[in-house]
Protein backbone atom coordinates (compact mmCIF):
# COMPACT_ATOMS: atom_id res chain seq x y z
CA UNK A 1 0.00 0.00 0.00
CA UNK A 2 1.57 3.28 -1.08
CA UNK A 3 -0.13 6.59 -1.10
CA UNK A 4 1.30 9.86 -2.35
CA UNK A 5 2.54 12.25 0.30
CA UNK A 6 0.21 14.95 -0.96
CA UNK A 7 -3.39 14.16 -1.71
CA UNK A 8 -5.66 15.79 -4.20
CA UNK A 9 -8.34 17.83 -2.51
CA UNK A 10 -11.01 15.99 -4.51
CA UNK A 11 -10.21 12.77 -2.63
CA UNK A 12 -10.69 14.34 0.76
CA UNK A 13 -14.45 13.99 1.28
CA UNK A 14 -16.06 11.95 4.08
CA UNK A 15 -16.75 8.83 2.15
CA UNK A 16 -18.23 5.63 3.38
CA UNK A 17 -14.82 4.21 4.29
CA UNK A 18 -14.08 7.17 6.56
CA UNK A 19 -17.43 6.97 8.27
CA UNK A 20 -17.10 3.20 8.69
CA UNK A 21 -13.70 3.65 10.24
CA UNK A 22 -14.96 6.26 12.69
CA UNK A 23 -17.86 3.98 13.60
CA UNK A 24 -15.53 1.01 13.99
CA UNK A 25 -13.32 2.98 16.38
CA UNK A 26 -16.40 4.03 18.35
CA UNK A 27 -17.73 0.48 18.47
CA UNK A 28 -14.29 -0.75 19.54
CA UNK A 29 -14.07 1.70 22.43
CA UNK A 30 -17.63 0.99 23.58
CA UNK A 31 -16.83 -2.71 23.45
CA UNK A 32 -13.83 -2.18 25.69
CA UNK A 33 -15.89 -0.36 28.31
CA UNK A 34 -18.45 -3.13 28.08
CA UNK A 35 -15.80 -5.82 28.56
CA UNK A 36 -14.32 -3.91 31.50
CA UNK A 37 -17.75 -3.62 33.01
CA UNK A 38 -18.06 -7.40 32.83
CA UNK A 39 -14.66 -7.90 34.43
CA UNK A 40 -13.23 -9.43 31.29
CA UNK A 41 -10.31 -7.03 30.80
CA UNK A 42 -7.20 -6.64 32.89
CA UNK A 43 -5.56 -3.32 33.81
CA UNK A 44 -6.73 -0.02 32.42
CA UNK A 45 -7.63 1.71 29.18
CA UNK A 46 -8.37 5.21 27.92
CA UNK A 47 -11.01 5.43 25.23
CA UNK A 48 -11.08 8.10 22.53
CA UNK A 49 -14.89 8.33 22.43
CA UNK A 50 -15.72 11.65 20.80
CA UNK A 51 -12.26 12.08 19.25
CA UNK A 52 -12.42 9.31 16.60
CA UNK A 53 -12.62 11.72 13.65
CA UNK A 54 -9.19 13.22 14.40
CA UNK A 55 -6.95 10.29 13.46
CA UNK A 56 -9.33 9.38 10.63
CA UNK A 57 -8.98 12.89 9.20
CA UNK A 58 -5.21 12.94 9.79
CA UNK A 59 -4.54 9.52 8.32
CA UNK A 60 -5.37 10.70 4.78
CA UNK A 61 -2.81 13.48 5.18
CA UNK A 62 -0.11 11.06 6.29
CA UNK A 63 2.11 8.84 4.25
CA UNK A 64 2.67 5.21 5.29
CA UNK A 65 6.34 6.07 5.69
CA UNK A 66 5.62 8.93 8.08
CA UNK A 67 6.21 8.05 11.73
CA UNK A 68 3.33 8.34 14.14
CA UNK A 69 3.70 8.72 17.91
CA UNK A 70 0.64 8.06 19.99
CA UNK A 71 -0.19 8.32 23.66
CA UNK A 72 -2.32 6.71 26.37
CA UNK A 73 -5.50 7.53 24.42
CA UNK A 74 -4.21 5.86 21.30
CA UNK A 75 -6.65 3.19 20.06
CA UNK A 76 -8.09 5.52 17.41
CA UNK A 77 -4.61 6.47 16.24
CA UNK A 78 -3.70 2.81 15.81
CA UNK A 79 -6.96 1.74 14.20
CA UNK A 80 -6.93 4.64 11.72
CA UNK A 81 -3.45 3.62 10.65
CA UNK A 82 -3.70 -0.16 10.55
CA UNK A 83 -7.44 -1.00 10.59
CA UNK A 84 -6.59 -3.91 12.80
CA UNK A 85 -9.09 -4.13 15.66
CA UNK A 86 -8.32 -7.83 16.21
CA UNK A 87 -4.59 -7.25 16.76
CA UNK A 88 -5.27 -4.35 19.11
CA UNK A 89 -7.93 -6.15 21.11
CA UNK A 90 -5.65 -9.18 21.36
CA UNK A 91 -2.95 -6.84 22.70
CA UNK A 92 -5.30 -5.36 25.27
CA UNK A 93 -6.58 -8.80 26.27
CA UNK A 94 -3.21 -10.62 26.14
CA UNK A 95 -4.33 -13.08 23.47
CA UNK A 96 -2.54 -14.77 20.61
CA UNK A 97 -2.04 -12.42 17.66
CA UNK A 98 -1.45 -9.43 19.95
CA UNK A 99 0.48 -6.64 18.19
CA UNK A 100 3.13 -6.62 20.92
CA UNK A 101 2.58 -10.08 22.35
CA UNK A 102 0.62 -8.61 25.24
CA UNK A 103 3.69 -6.98 26.78
CA UNK A 104 2.81 -3.38 26.00
CA UNK A 105 -0.95 -3.44 26.37
CA UNK A 106 -3.26 -0.54 25.62
CA UNK A 107 -0.70 2.26 25.84
CA UNK A 108 2.55 0.74 24.59
CA UNK A 109 2.21 -0.28 20.97
CA UNK A 110 4.86 -0.49 18.29
CA UNK A 111 4.30 -1.47 14.70
CA UNK A 112 5.77 -0.27 11.39
CA UNK A 113 6.61 3.33 12.21
CA UNK A 114 3.87 3.65 14.83
CA UNK A 115 4.74 3.85 18.50
CA UNK A 116 2.81 4.75 21.63
CA UNK A 117 4.01 5.37 25.17
CA UNK A 118 2.20 6.00 28.43
CA UNK A 119 4.35 8.77 29.90
CA UNK A 120 3.06 12.22 29.04
CA UNK A 121 5.30 14.37 26.90
CA UNK A 122 8.02 11.76 26.57
CA UNK A 123 7.39 11.04 22.90
CA UNK A 124 7.94 14.63 21.74
CA UNK A 125 11.74 14.62 22.10
CA UNK A 126 11.76 11.13 20.58
CA UNK A 127 9.68 12.46 17.68
CA UNK A 128 12.22 15.26 17.26
CA UNK A 129 14.99 12.66 16.99
CA UNK A 130 13.00 10.74 14.39
CA UNK A 131 12.34 13.97 12.48
CA UNK A 132 16.09 14.67 12.51
CA UNK A 133 16.65 11.21 11.05
CA UNK A 134 13.96 11.68 8.40
CA UNK A 135 15.22 15.09 7.36
CA UNK A 136 18.57 13.58 6.45
CA UNK A 137 17.60 10.19 5.09
CA UNK A 138 14.05 10.51 3.77
CA UNK A 139 13.21 14.14 3.00
CA UNK A 140 9.48 14.74 2.63
CA UNK A 141 8.53 12.35 5.43
CA UNK A 142 7.50 13.67 8.83
CA UNK A 143 7.12 12.63 12.45
CA UNK A 144 3.59 13.13 13.75
CA UNK A 145 3.10 13.24 17.52
CA UNK A 146 -0.33 13.16 19.16
CA UNK A 147 -0.63 14.81 22.58
CA UNK A 148 -3.42 16.08 24.83
CA UNK A 149 -3.85 19.55 26.34
CA UNK A 150 -2.78 18.33 29.78
CA UNK A 151 0.56 17.25 28.40
CA UNK A 152 1.45 20.92 27.93
CA UNK A 153 2.34 20.83 31.62
CA UNK A 154 5.44 18.79 30.79
CA UNK A 155 8.77 20.52 30.24
CA UNK A 156 9.76 17.95 27.63
CA UNK A 157 7.19 19.54 25.30
CA UNK A 158 9.05 22.86 25.29
CA UNK A 159 12.50 21.34 25.06
CA UNK A 160 11.24 19.52 21.97
CA UNK A 161 9.49 22.57 20.48
CA UNK A 162 12.67 24.57 20.88
CA UNK A 163 14.88 22.02 19.13
CA UNK A 164 12.35 21.26 16.38
CA UNK A 165 12.10 24.94 15.55
CA UNK A 166 15.84 25.70 15.89
CA UNK A 167 16.88 22.77 13.75
CA UNK A 168 13.95 23.14 11.30
CA UNK A 169 12.62 19.62 11.62
CA UNK A 170 9.53 18.05 10.01
CA UNK A 171 7.55 17.57 13.22
CA UNK A 172 3.76 17.63 13.15
CA UNK A 173 2.25 17.96 16.62
CA UNK A 174 -1.42 17.08 16.76
CA UNK A 175 -2.98 18.38 19.95
CA UNK A 176 -6.27 16.81 20.96
CA UNK A 177 -7.56 19.54 23.24
CA UNK A 178 -10.56 17.90 24.84
CA UNK A 179 -10.80 20.51 27.57
CA UNK A 180 -9.78 18.21 30.37
CA UNK A 181 -6.82 16.25 31.66
CA UNK A 182 -7.99 13.28 33.75
CA UNK A 183 -10.12 15.37 36.16
CA UNK A 184 -8.59 18.82 35.74
CA UNK A 185 -10.20 21.20 33.27
CA UNK A 186 -7.89 23.02 30.87
CA UNK A 187 -8.73 26.33 32.56
CA UNK A 188 -7.16 24.95 35.74
CA UNK A 189 -3.98 23.51 34.23
CA UNK A 190 -3.00 25.74 31.32
CA UNK A 191 -2.02 29.41 31.58
CA UNK A 192 -2.06 31.40 28.36
CA UNK A 193 -2.83 29.29 25.31
CA UNK A 194 -1.43 26.48 23.21
CA UNK A 195 -1.25 28.91 20.27
CA UNK A 196 0.81 31.28 22.39
CA UNK A 197 3.16 28.55 23.41
CA UNK A 198 3.74 27.50 19.79
CA UNK A 199 4.24 31.16 18.84
CA UNK A 200 6.87 31.55 21.54
CA UNK A 201 9.02 29.07 19.64
CA UNK A 202 8.24 30.51 16.21
CA UNK A 203 6.17 27.44 15.36
CA UNK A 204 3.10 27.82 13.18
CA UNK A 205 -0.16 26.88 14.94
CA UNK A 206 -3.54 26.04 13.44
CA UNK A 207 -6.74 25.73 15.44
CA UNK A 208 -9.35 23.28 14.15
CA UNK A 209 -12.80 23.55 15.67
CA UNK A 210 -14.84 21.48 13.25
CA UNK A 211 -15.27 17.71 13.30
CA UNK A 212 -16.01 17.64 9.58
CA UNK A 213 -13.37 15.33 8.18
CA UNK A 214 -13.41 16.78 4.66
CA UNK A 215 -13.10 20.32 5.93
CA UNK A 216 -10.28 19.36 8.27
CA UNK A 217 -8.35 17.78 5.43
CA UNK A 218 -8.94 20.74 3.14
CA UNK A 219 -7.64 23.11 5.79
CA UNK A 220 -4.64 21.08 6.80
CA UNK A 221 -3.46 19.65 3.50
CA UNK A 222 -1.38 22.70 2.45
CA UNK A 223 -0.03 23.13 5.97
CA UNK A 224 1.03 19.51 6.28
CA UNK A 225 2.58 19.66 2.81
CA UNK A 226 4.61 22.60 4.00
CA UNK A 227 5.93 20.58 6.96
CA UNK A 228 7.29 18.18 4.35
CA UNK A 229 8.57 20.59 1.75
CA UNK A 230 10.09 23.11 4.14
CA UNK A 231 11.10 20.68 6.92
CA UNK A 232 9.43 22.83 9.53
CA UNK A 233 7.36 22.05 12.61
CA UNK A 234 3.61 22.64 12.86
CA UNK A 235 1.18 22.48 15.77
CA UNK A 236 -2.40 21.57 14.90
CA UNK A 237 -4.79 21.99 17.81
CA UNK A 238 -8.14 20.25 17.63
CA UNK A 239 -10.88 21.53 19.90
CA UNK A 240 -12.54 18.25 20.70
CA UNK A 241 -14.58 16.39 23.27
CA UNK A 242 -13.87 13.45 25.54
CA UNK A 243 -17.24 11.77 25.89
CA UNK A 244 -16.22 8.92 28.13
CA UNK A 245 -14.45 8.68 31.46
CA UNK A 246 -10.72 9.40 31.63
CA UNK A 247 -10.10 5.67 31.90
CA UNK A 248 -13.02 3.68 33.26
CA UNK A 249 -15.65 4.80 35.70
CA UNK A 250 -13.66 7.88 36.72
CA UNK A 251 -15.57 10.75 35.18
CA UNK A 252 -15.84 13.65 37.60
CA UNK A 253 -17.96 15.82 35.31
CA UNK A 254 -21.70 16.23 35.82
CA UNK A 255 -24.04 14.14 33.68
CA UNK A 256 -25.37 17.38 32.29
CA UNK A 257 -21.94 18.58 31.19
CA UNK A 258 -21.31 15.29 29.41
CA UNK A 259 -24.75 15.46 27.79
CA UNK A 260 -23.88 18.89 26.39
CA UNK A 261 -20.72 17.43 24.87
CA UNK A 262 -22.71 14.56 23.35
CA UNK A 263 -24.86 17.08 21.53
CA UNK A 264 -21.77 18.37 19.77
CA UNK A 265 -20.54 14.89 18.92
CA UNK A 266 -19.72 14.03 15.28
CA UNK A 267 -21.81 10.90 15.74
CA UNK A 268 -25.04 12.85 16.22
CA UNK A 269 -24.19 15.21 13.39
CA UNK A 270 -23.46 12.44 10.90
CA UNK A 271 -26.49 10.43 11.99
CA UNK A 272 -28.76 13.39 11.37
CA UNK A 273 -27.19 14.12 7.98
CA UNK A 274 -27.95 10.76 6.41
CA UNK A 275 -29.79 8.52 8.89
CA UNK A 276 -30.34 5.46 6.70
CA UNK A 277 -26.80 5.12 5.49
CA UNK A 278 -25.44 6.01 8.94
CA UNK A 279 -27.43 3.42 10.85
CA UNK A 280 -26.59 0.72 8.36
CA UNK A 281 -22.87 1.44 8.63
CA UNK A 282 -23.10 1.74 12.41
CA UNK A 283 -24.84 -1.63 12.70
CA UNK A 284 -22.19 -3.17 10.47
CA UNK A 285 -19.36 -1.68 12.53
CA UNK A 286 -20.84 -2.93 15.80
CA UNK A 287 -21.47 -6.39 14.39
CA UNK A 288 -17.92 -6.50 13.05
CA UNK A 289 -16.44 -5.52 16.41
CA UNK A 290 -18.72 -7.98 18.26
CA UNK A 291 -17.56 -10.80 16.02
CA UNK A 292 -13.89 -9.84 16.48
CA UNK A 293 -14.29 -9.65 20.25
CA UNK A 294 -15.86 -13.10 20.40
CA UNK A 295 -13.14 -14.52 18.20
CA UNK A 296 -10.26 -12.85 20.09
CA UNK A 297 -11.59 -13.88 23.49
CA UNK A 298 -11.58 -17.50 22.37
CA UNK A 299 -7.88 -17.36 21.49
CA UNK A 300 -5.19 -18.81 23.75
CA UNK A 301 -3.00 -16.43 25.80
CA UNK A 302 -0.26 -14.53 24.00
CA UNK A 303 3.31 -15.76 24.27
CA UNK A 304 6.34 -13.55 24.87
CA UNK A 305 9.24 -15.40 23.33
CA UNK A 306 11.80 -12.94 21.96
CA UNK A 307 12.78 -10.80 24.90
Amino acid sequence: MTRPATIETAELGLDEADLSLMLTIRAFELKLLDLYGKGLLNGTTHTCLGQEYIPVAMEALLDPRDRVFSNHRGHGHYLARFRDPAGLLAEIMGREGAVCNGVGGSQHIHRDGFLSTGVQGESLPVGVGVALHLKRTDPGRLACVYIGDGTFGEGAVYEAFNIASLWRLPLLVVVENNGIAQSTPTSRHLAGSIAGRAAAFGIRHRLIETSDVAEIRRTLEPLVSRVRSHATPLVVEFVTRRLGPHSKGDDTRSAEAVRDLREQDWYERCAAADPDRFHLLDAQARAHVDAIAAEVMARPPSRWETR
Partner: protein, 327 residues
Amino acid sequence: MRVGENLNTALAALLAREPNLYVLGEDVVDPYGGAFKITRGLSTSFPDRVLSTPISENAITGVAAGLALSGDLAIVEIMFGDFAALAFDQLLNFASKSVSMYGSRLPMRMVVRCPVGGGRGYGPTHSQALQKHFVGIPGLALYEMSPFHDNLAVFEEMFARAQPCVFFEDKVLYTRRMGAVEPPFSLTVSGGVARVFLDGSPDCVVIAPGGTAHRAMAAMRSLLVEEEIGCTLVVPSRLYPFDELDALEADVRTARHVFVVEESTAGGTWGAEVAHLLHQRHWGRLARPVTLIHSADGVVPTAAHLERAALVNETTIHSVIRETLRG
Protein backbone atom coordinates in the same frame (compact mmCIF):
# COMPACT_ATOMS: atom_id res chain seq x y z
CA MET B 1 48.28 8.67 25.73
CA ARG B 2 45.93 10.34 28.19
CA VAL B 3 42.55 8.75 28.86
CA GLY B 4 40.66 11.82 27.59
CA GLU B 5 42.64 11.77 24.36
CA ASN B 6 41.96 8.07 23.93
CA LEU B 7 38.25 8.78 24.32
CA ASN B 8 38.36 11.68 21.86
CA THR B 9 40.19 9.49 19.32
CA ALA B 10 37.63 6.74 19.80
CA LEU B 11 34.74 9.11 19.11
CA ALA B 12 36.47 10.43 15.99
CA ALA B 13 37.08 6.90 14.74
CA LEU B 14 33.45 5.94 15.34
CA LEU B 15 32.14 9.03 13.55
CA ALA B 16 34.40 8.27 10.59
CA ARG B 17 33.35 4.65 10.44
CA GLU B 18 29.62 4.97 11.18
CA PRO B 19 27.92 7.39 8.78
CA ASN B 20 24.75 7.22 10.89
CA LEU B 21 26.33 8.12 14.21
CA TYR B 22 25.41 11.42 15.86
CA VAL B 23 27.10 13.07 18.84
CA LEU B 24 24.81 15.41 20.75
CA GLY B 25 25.40 17.53 23.81
CA GLU B 26 25.66 20.96 25.33
CA ASP B 27 28.58 23.04 24.04
CA VAL B 28 30.15 20.08 22.25
CA VAL B 29 31.07 21.87 19.02
CA ASP B 30 34.37 23.57 18.27
CA PRO B 31 36.12 25.65 19.28
CA TYR B 32 34.78 24.87 22.76
CA GLY B 33 34.69 21.09 22.25
CA GLY B 34 32.72 20.23 25.39
CA ALA B 35 33.13 21.21 29.03
CA PHE B 36 35.92 18.64 29.37
CA LYS B 37 37.17 18.99 25.77
CA ILE B 38 36.34 15.39 24.95
CA THR B 39 34.55 16.30 21.71
CA ARG B 40 37.23 18.74 20.55
CA GLY B 41 37.75 18.61 16.78
CA LEU B 42 34.76 16.37 16.12
CA SER B 43 32.36 19.03 14.87
CA THR B 44 35.00 20.39 12.54
CA SER B 45 35.32 17.00 10.87
CA PHE B 46 31.64 16.03 11.12
CA PRO B 47 29.62 19.24 11.25
CA ASP B 48 26.29 17.61 10.34
CA ARG B 49 26.47 14.94 12.99
CA VAL B 50 28.12 16.59 15.97
CA LEU B 51 25.53 18.99 17.29
CA SER B 52 25.51 21.44 20.16
CA THR B 53 22.09 21.41 21.77
CA PRO B 54 20.10 23.70 24.02
CA ILE B 55 20.35 22.98 27.77
CA SER B 56 17.73 20.24 27.56
CA GLU B 57 18.95 16.92 28.97
CA ASN B 58 15.54 15.29 28.68
CA ALA B 59 15.14 16.28 25.03
CA ILE B 60 18.71 15.48 24.01
CA THR B 61 18.33 11.98 25.41
CA GLY B 62 14.92 11.66 23.77
CA VAL B 63 16.34 12.83 20.44
CA ALA B 64 19.07 10.19 20.76
CA ALA B 65 16.37 7.59 21.44
CA GLY B 66 14.46 8.77 18.35
CA LEU B 67 17.60 8.40 16.25
CA ALA B 68 18.27 4.96 17.72
CA LEU B 69 14.67 3.98 17.04
CA SER B 70 15.24 4.95 13.40
CA GLY B 71 18.31 2.71 13.13
CA ASP B 72 20.92 5.43 13.66
CA LEU B 73 23.56 5.43 16.39
CA ALA B 74 23.71 8.21 18.95
CA ILE B 75 26.07 9.36 21.66
CA VAL B 76 24.87 11.96 24.15
CA GLU B 77 27.26 13.95 26.30
CA ILE B 78 25.69 15.04 29.57
CA MET B 79 27.90 17.96 30.59
CA PHE B 80 28.06 16.87 34.23
CA GLY B 81 26.68 13.41 34.92
CA ASP B 82 24.64 14.89 37.77
CA PHE B 83 22.31 16.37 35.13
CA ALA B 84 21.44 12.88 33.89
CA ALA B 85 18.76 13.18 36.57
CA LEU B 86 16.90 15.32 34.02
CA ALA B 87 17.25 12.58 31.41
CA PHE B 88 16.14 9.82 33.74
CA ASP B 89 12.63 9.53 32.32
CA GLN B 90 13.91 9.09 28.78
CA LEU B 91 16.38 6.43 29.95
CA LEU B 92 14.15 4.59 32.41
CA ASN B 93 10.75 4.84 30.78
CA PHE B 94 11.54 5.13 27.12
CA ALA B 95 14.95 4.09 25.80
CA SER B 96 15.57 1.07 28.02
CA LYS B 97 11.93 0.00 28.04
CA SER B 98 11.66 0.13 24.26
CA VAL B 99 14.18 -2.67 23.94
CA SER B 100 11.60 -5.14 25.19
CA MET B 101 8.25 -3.57 26.08
CA TYR B 102 6.89 -3.83 22.58
CA GLY B 103 6.94 -7.60 22.80
CA SER B 104 9.92 -8.31 20.59
CA ARG B 105 13.49 -7.10 20.73
CA LEU B 106 13.88 -3.57 19.41
CA PRO B 107 17.52 -2.60 18.85
CA MET B 108 18.43 0.78 20.38
CA ARG B 109 22.03 1.83 19.78
CA MET B 110 22.71 4.78 22.02
CA VAL B 111 25.22 5.71 24.68
CA VAL B 112 24.77 8.44 27.26
CA ARG B 113 28.16 9.67 28.42
CA CYS B 114 28.26 10.95 31.99
CA PRO B 115 31.34 12.66 33.42
CA VAL B 116 31.12 11.83 37.13
CA GLY B 117 32.94 12.05 40.41
CA GLY B 118 34.59 14.65 42.58
CA GLY B 119 38.10 15.70 43.39
CA ARG B 120 37.91 18.91 41.44
CA GLY B 121 36.04 21.12 43.87
CA TYR B 122 32.90 21.51 41.77
CA GLY B 123 30.60 21.02 44.75
CA PRO B 124 27.62 18.88 45.70
CA THR B 125 25.64 19.02 42.42
CA HIS B 126 28.60 18.64 40.06
CA SER B 127 30.64 15.91 41.73
CA GLN B 128 28.45 12.90 42.29
CA ALA B 129 29.24 9.33 41.34
CA LEU B 130 25.82 8.47 39.95
CA GLN B 131 26.35 4.85 38.98
CA LYS B 132 24.20 3.46 41.79
CA HIS B 133 21.13 5.35 40.61
CA PHE B 134 21.08 3.42 37.33
CA VAL B 135 21.73 -0.12 38.59
CA GLY B 136 19.06 -2.73 37.97
CA ILE B 137 17.11 -1.17 35.12
CA PRO B 138 16.04 -3.83 32.61
CA GLY B 139 17.42 -3.05 29.16
CA LEU B 140 19.98 -0.51 30.38
CA ALA B 141 23.67 -1.45 30.47
CA LEU B 142 26.24 0.48 32.52
CA TYR B 143 29.90 0.86 31.64
CA GLU B 144 32.71 2.79 33.25
CA MET B 145 35.73 4.32 31.57
CA SER B 146 39.07 3.02 32.81
CA PRO B 147 42.74 3.58 32.00
CA PHE B 148 42.99 -0.11 31.08
CA HIS B 149 40.19 -0.33 28.54
CA ASP B 150 40.58 1.13 25.09
CA ASN B 151 37.55 3.34 24.63
CA LEU B 152 37.03 2.41 20.99
CA ALA B 153 36.65 -1.25 21.91
CA VAL B 154 34.30 -0.36 24.76
CA PHE B 155 32.07 1.75 22.50
CA GLU B 156 32.03 -1.04 19.92
CA GLU B 157 30.88 -3.43 22.62
CA MET B 158 28.19 -1.01 23.84
CA PHE B 159 26.77 -0.51 20.36
CA ALA B 160 26.93 -4.24 19.68
CA ARG B 161 24.58 -4.80 22.62
CA ALA B 162 21.92 -2.85 20.69
CA GLN B 163 20.52 -1.50 23.94
CA PRO B 164 20.93 1.89 25.62
CA CYS B 165 24.09 2.21 27.67
CA VAL B 166 25.28 4.77 30.19
CA PHE B 167 29.03 5.34 30.13
CA PHE B 168 30.44 6.79 33.34
CA GLU B 169 33.65 8.76 33.02
CA ASP B 170 35.44 9.72 36.21
CA LYS B 171 36.59 13.25 35.42
CA VAL B 172 39.93 12.82 37.15
CA LEU B 173 40.85 10.15 34.59
CA TYR B 174 40.79 12.46 31.58
CA THR B 175 44.30 13.71 32.29
CA ARG B 176 45.74 10.41 33.53
CA ARG B 177 47.76 8.01 31.39
CA MET B 178 46.26 4.95 29.75
CA GLY B 179 47.30 1.53 31.03
CA ALA B 180 50.14 2.51 33.36
CA VAL B 181 51.16 -0.30 35.74
CA GLU B 182 54.55 -0.41 37.41
CA PRO B 183 56.54 -3.43 38.63
CA PRO B 184 56.23 -5.60 40.55
CA PHE B 185 52.61 -5.43 39.37
CA SER B 186 51.56 -6.94 36.03
CA LEU B 187 48.52 -6.22 33.90
CA THR B 188 46.26 -8.39 31.76
CA VAL B 189 43.04 -7.38 30.07
CA SER B 190 40.55 -9.93 28.82
CA GLY B 191 36.81 -10.38 28.65
CA GLY B 192 36.28 -6.72 29.48
CA VAL B 193 38.08 -7.09 32.79
CA ALA B 194 41.53 -5.74 33.61
CA ARG B 195 43.62 -7.49 36.30
CA VAL B 196 46.57 -5.98 38.10
CA PHE B 197 48.41 -8.64 40.08
CA LEU B 198 51.60 -9.84 41.72
CA ASP B 199 53.35 -13.17 41.36
CA GLY B 200 51.97 -15.77 43.73
CA SER B 201 48.57 -15.96 45.33
CA PRO B 202 47.20 -12.71 46.76
CA ASP B 203 45.89 -12.08 50.25
CA CYS B 204 42.82 -10.39 48.87
CA VAL B 205 40.96 -9.28 45.77
CA VAL B 206 40.00 -5.66 45.24
CA ILE B 207 37.26 -4.91 42.71
CA ALA B 208 37.51 -1.27 41.67
CA PRO B 209 36.01 0.21 38.49
CA GLY B 210 37.85 2.75 36.33
CA GLY B 211 37.64 5.90 38.40
CA THR B 212 38.90 4.25 41.58
CA ALA B 213 41.45 1.89 40.02
CA HIS B 214 44.43 4.23 40.37
CA ARG B 215 43.54 4.91 43.99
CA ALA B 216 43.31 1.18 44.63
CA MET B 217 46.67 0.66 42.92
CA ALA B 218 48.33 3.27 45.13
CA ALA B 219 46.88 1.53 48.17
CA MET B 220 48.04 -1.86 46.88
CA ARG B 221 51.58 -0.56 46.57
CA SER B 222 51.69 0.88 50.08
CA LEU B 223 50.04 -2.25 51.51
CA LEU B 224 52.72 -4.36 49.85
CA VAL B 225 55.61 -2.21 51.02
CA GLU B 226 54.40 -1.40 54.50
CA GLU B 227 52.30 -4.43 55.43
CA GLU B 228 53.39 -7.17 53.02
CA ILE B 229 49.79 -7.54 51.98
CA GLY B 230 49.43 -8.71 48.38
CA CYS B 231 46.31 -7.70 46.46
CA THR B 232 44.90 -8.46 43.04
CA LEU B 233 42.97 -5.60 41.46
CA VAL B 234 40.01 -6.38 39.21
CA VAL B 235 38.70 -3.54 37.01
CA PRO B 236 35.50 -4.35 35.11
CA SER B 237 34.52 -2.23 32.13
CA ARG B 238 30.86 -3.19 32.35
CA LEU B 239 29.19 -2.53 35.70
CA TYR B 240 25.75 -3.88 34.84
CA PRO B 241 24.27 -6.27 33.95
CA PHE B 242 26.56 -8.99 35.26
CA ASP B 243 25.77 -11.24 32.31
CA GLU B 244 29.18 -12.90 32.07
CA LEU B 245 30.34 -13.03 35.64
CA ASP B 246 33.23 -15.35 34.81
CA ALA B 247 35.87 -12.74 34.12
CA LEU B 248 34.90 -10.69 37.17
CA GLU B 249 34.79 -13.78 39.35
CA ALA B 250 37.91 -15.60 38.22
CA ASP B 251 40.01 -14.18 41.05
CA VAL B 252 37.23 -14.25 43.59
CA ARG B 253 37.03 -18.02 43.19
CA THR B 254 40.32 -18.48 45.00
CA ALA B 255 40.15 -15.48 47.35
CA ARG B 256 39.05 -15.42 50.97
CA HIS B 257 38.88 -11.64 51.28
CA VAL B 258 37.11 -9.44 48.74
CA PHE B 259 36.78 -5.65 48.70
CA VAL B 260 34.65 -3.54 46.38
CA VAL B 261 35.71 0.07 45.93
CA GLU B 262 33.58 2.83 44.39
CA GLU B 263 33.35 6.58 44.73
CA SER B 264 29.61 6.61 45.36
CA THR B 265 28.43 7.85 48.72
CA ALA B 266 27.06 5.24 51.12
CA GLY B 267 23.68 3.57 50.66
CA GLY B 268 22.19 1.45 47.88
CA THR B 269 25.51 1.17 46.11
CA TRP B 270 26.71 -0.79 43.09
CA GLY B 271 29.17 -2.51 45.42
CA ALA B 272 26.32 -3.81 47.55
CA GLU B 273 24.89 -5.46 44.42
CA VAL B 274 28.26 -7.02 43.61
CA ALA B 275 28.62 -8.22 47.20
CA HIS B 276 25.18 -9.81 47.13
CA LEU B 277 26.05 -11.69 43.97
CA LEU B 278 29.38 -12.91 45.33
CA HIS B 279 27.77 -13.96 48.61
CA GLN B 280 25.26 -16.09 46.75
CA ARG B 281 27.97 -17.92 44.88
CA HIS B 282 30.96 -17.97 47.21
CA TRP B 283 29.64 -17.56 50.75
CA GLY B 284 30.98 -20.85 52.02
CA ARG B 285 34.55 -20.05 51.02
CA LEU B 286 34.87 -16.42 52.05
CA ALA B 287 36.56 -15.63 55.36
CA ARG B 288 34.08 -12.78 55.91
CA PRO B 289 31.44 -10.87 53.99
CA VAL B 290 32.62 -8.78 51.06
CA THR B 291 33.82 -5.40 52.37
CA LEU B 292 32.45 -2.25 50.75
CA ILE B 293 34.70 0.79 50.46
CA HIS B 294 33.06 3.99 49.31
CA SER B 295 32.76 7.70 50.01
CA ALA B 296 31.21 9.06 53.19
CA ASP B 297 27.46 9.27 53.67
CA GLY B 298 26.65 12.87 52.74
CA VAL B 299 26.89 15.44 50.00
CA VAL B 300 30.23 15.97 48.29
CA PRO B 301 31.50 19.26 49.75
CA THR B 302 33.30 21.94 47.76
CA ALA B 303 36.25 23.11 49.89
CA ALA B 304 39.31 21.00 49.07
CA HIS B 305 39.93 19.77 52.63
CA LEU B 306 36.28 18.83 53.13
CA GLU B 307 36.02 17.12 49.76
CA ARG B 308 39.21 15.16 50.39
CA ALA B 309 37.83 13.92 53.69
CA ALA B 310 34.54 12.81 52.10
CA LEU B 311 35.71 10.98 48.98
CA VAL B 312 37.15 7.50 48.90
CA ASN B 313 40.92 7.70 48.32
CA GLU B 314 44.06 5.59 48.56
CA THR B 315 44.34 6.18 52.31
CA THR B 316 40.78 5.00 52.94
CA ILE B 317 41.35 1.93 50.81
CA HIS B 318 44.68 1.18 52.48
CA SER B 319 43.35 1.47 55.99
CA VAL B 320 40.15 -0.51 55.39
CA ILE B 321 42.10 -3.37 53.82
CA ARG B 322 44.76 -3.33 56.54
CA GLU B 323 42.25 -3.26 59.36
CA THR B 324 40.15 -5.96 57.78
CA LEU B 325 43.06 -8.32 57.24
CA ARG B 326 45.14 -7.50 60.31
CA GLY B 327 42.37 -6.62 62.72
